[in-house]
Amino acid sequence: MELIIFLIIAIISAVSAFLVVTQRNVIYSALFLILTLCSLAILYVLLNAPFLAAIQIIVYAGAVMVLFLFVIMLLNLKKDEFGKDRKRIQKSLGILFAILFLVEIAISIKLGISRDFVGSAAPALEKGFGGPHLLGELLFTKYLLPFELTSVLLLIAIIGAIVLAKKKV
């Protein structure tokens, strides 16, 4: 049962990811990216990370992609401004290298981790694994410093975005 769900979701996410890359119209790319992100959220649920799944949908598929669509519509691109693609040789080389890269990862997965994990069932989990309670506790104890630093990062990002995007004074 889990395999069937995984396969359906995996196919949806891979196909829509491919469509993100190949689509000519940027709006369609953005919409397919939302589909990919939502299917990844379902995978997070399968992996016992319900809190992250919620965050994925709220922050990524929600806030980030709304920002994307907002900017795309703000730029108001005409058909001829979508931009030509790269030359054929660059394109085929790019695809070749990406496939080589994929093969390399697959080989290293096969050689490295698989010996310890493949086929072995996932360990039994303590109650509340991946829930907000456990994550929050970790965030405010062990990872307090990174957590605080993220807030500084967000502040810098807000200021940077305003400075970059405003018209020259």
Binding site: E2, A10, S13, A14, A17, F18, V20, V21, A30, L33, L37, L43, Y44, L46, L47, A49, L52, I55, Q56, V64, L67, F68, V71, L74, L75, L77, E81, F82, G83, K84, D85, R86, Q90, L93, G94, I95, A98, L102, A106, I109, I113, F117, V118, G119, A121, A122, P123, L125, L134, L135, L138, Y143, F147, T150, L153, A157, G160, A161, L164, A165
Partner: protein
């Protein structure tokens, strides 16, 4: 329960698709979206490992990654808007100011 490899391979496939997008497209918005895709592939790997090693720290890491990604998107889109305002184009071949 599925093996860990299923998730790792899916993450690798998504990452490779993102790489194809970065290498073959010239539209800066699509390149940016491909980068987001690659980030998400890595996130999936992190969550899968966190599940199979039974260490929740991986999920905390993904949580922080998402914050960083949100900040990155805000700044990156601001750069794209500034670029479009100056050059009236979103083709990355026009981003050649620093080219020698």
């Amino acid at each position: 329960m599925l093996g860990l490899n299923y998730y790792l391979i899916l993450g690798a496939i998504l990452f490779a698709i993102g790489t194809i997008g970065v290498l073959t497209r010239r539209n800066i918005l699509i390149i940016f979206m491909s980068i987001e895709l690659m980030l998400n592939a890595v996130n999936l790997t992190f969550v899968a490992f966190s599940r199979y090693l039974d260490i929740i720290d991986g999920q905390v890491m993904v949580f922080i990654f998402m914050t960083v990604a949100a900040a990155e998107v805000a700044v990156g889109l601001a750069i794209i808007v500034a670029f479009f305002r100056n050059k009236k184009s979103i083709n990355i071949d026009d981003l050649n100011l620093m080219k020698w």
